[in-house]
Amino acid sequence: MALRSVWVFAELRQGRATTETLELLTKARSLGAAAVEAVCFGPRAVDAAAELGRYGATTVHLSSDPAFAELLFGGPAADTLAALVVPHPPDLILFAATHAGRDVAGRLAAKLDVPVIANGLDVEAGDAITVTTAIFGATQVVRTEFGGRRPALALIRPKSFPAEAAPGAISPGLVEVPAVIRECHRRATVVARSDEVAAGPRLEDAEVVVSGGRGIQEAGNFELLREVAELLHGAVGASRAVVDAGWAPYSLQVGQTGRTVKPTVYIACGISGAMQHTVGMRGAQKIVAINKDPQAPIFKLADLGIVGDAPTVLRQLRDELRSRPG
């Protein structure tokens, strides 16, 4: 079954398409569809259109309505997307498994009464459209086929594919679409917004990630993680347990409900290795674990496991890195 068209729901950050969006476009190109198109809503949608074209979108459906930044995004975005989809439904719409992606895909599935598959790691188009997901901390791989209703909606986890520009890409055709905003959505407004800005590389881009869990014992010990991360030109991560406890901001959370990272080295400090966490870091090239409990599941994944007190080992690691020449 050859696909007629695959759409990618593009997300914006500071007027640029997010890396996850470019990953999805790269994948969409490989599915053999006659057309790959992008949908992009936000005040700076126009700024991102050329980049979406470079990654393979031949048409970009966009709305620059300021309401997309002023109102809670999910409802108006799903309504606007539905209005586009109904007259000419694509076979498949790919969303990034982000907060916004889940908000839009979940609503759209209900609106159109079409199936949605979440947490995808891969998507294939053969006789049917099939999405691969991982369960139980990525120890088992599940393949799920969509039934006949179209469009099929798939939410794909970040970093599931590389982002590669399309060879010989041309400028995409731009189609302005009117925002569809129902009264109930006008009554949910964004009154404040704050972005957390971390020093050093972004968590998803860092070559080394130094992550802390309950075993670092107190919130103050996050400073140790920061010192070690800085010495390694890396980034700090956190387990869900310490984010829930308020020791670290959500933006540092690695795992099922947080970031997916694939660094060269991942150093898990005082993290037991619950499935919720490991699904977000098991793609690291090398995993180092420091934990007091020799039975901690994290040791089953670690290339190097240190049974010991995480803050103590981190202090020694910091001191040894500082004393290295150069």
């Binding site: 889940r102 979940g106 086929e145 150093i267 020799p294 890195l321």
Partner: protein, 257 residues
């Protein structure tokens, strides 16, 4: 203020999960079923809204007979009434079907706020709250890390990919709360005893006028379940003072230092 909170009975998330080899469904017989720990935050948030503004908390769940335990726990925490929708054919329901059933159960009575977790601990598709909001025709303030109300609107802080935003939403609306949004209370002995006397409505999808939902052709079918390629465990050493040095050696071996 009438608040509906959705709860789910799940296999204890701390136990190892397994899928049935033939049906490709979660083996729910292997782990002790519990009220999803993520739902306790929603129950707590609902109780606090009602304690501040009056009204009552209604608990809604879809699941087998045993899911009554999850409903009872929420009642023991302080919710006033429960609803459980059961049908053997709902086993293995996808996110869309789950949302249809919950929406039909919730819409039978007026409500001001619907509260859910951001995702269940067993299926974790994370799209039921949004689908449910669409079916109920309300906004969805998802991934909330803080919830308050003046009785006429709801103010919430929510996580975004890059930080947070503050939302003011008119009522009615749906809120999905993250773990950590509050400190859920433990049911008191009096609460546990009292929960047994609280009313729980038992409905089938047909009672709700959506009999066709159960057993309808699924929009998606699991075609295979296989073991993932295992990461091999490496060396595990006990730290006797040279743990840090071993880490430095590994960092050097892959040339990050």
């Amino acid at each position: 203020m009438n608040v509906v909170v959705c709860v789910k009975l799940v296999p204890d998330p701390d136990s190892a999960g397994q899928l049935d080899a033939t049906t490709h469904r979660l083996r729910r017989d292997l782990a002790e079923p519990v009220l999803d720990p993520g739902d306790e935050f929603g129950v707590e948030a609902a109780l606090r809204l009602v304690e501040a503004h009056g009204g009552e908390v209604r608990v809604v769940s879809m699941g087998p007979e045993r899911a009554l335990e999850a409903v009872r726990k929420a009642l023991a925490m302080g919710a006033a009434r429960g609803v459980l929708v059961s049908d053997g054919r709902l086993g293995g329901s996808d996110a869309l079907t789950t949302a249809k059933v919950l929406a039909a159960a919730i819409a039978r009575e007026p409500f001001d706020v619907v509260i859910t977790a951001t995702e269940s601990s067993d299926g974790y598709t994370g799209v039921v709250p949004q689908a449910l909001a669409e079916m109920l025709d309300v906004t969805a303030v998802t991934f909330a890390t803080g919830v308050a109300s003046d009785g006429t609107a709801l103010t919430a802080t929510r996580q975004t990919e890059v930080g947070s935003e503050t939302i003011i939403a008119g009522l009615p609306c749906l809120v999905s709360v993250t773990a950590g949004v509050n400190e859920p209370r433990y049911p008191s002995l009096r609460g546990i005893m009292g929960a047994k006397a609280k009313p729980v409505d038992r409905w089938s999808p047909a009672d709700l006028g959506i009999g066709e939902v159960a057993g309808s052709a699924p929009g998606q079918t699991v075609v295979s379940v296989t073991l993932a390629e295992e990461r091999r465990a490496g060396e595990v050493v006990t730290d006797d003072g040279d743990g840090a040095h071993r880490i430095v050696e590994l960092l050097a071996s892959v040339r990050v230092i």
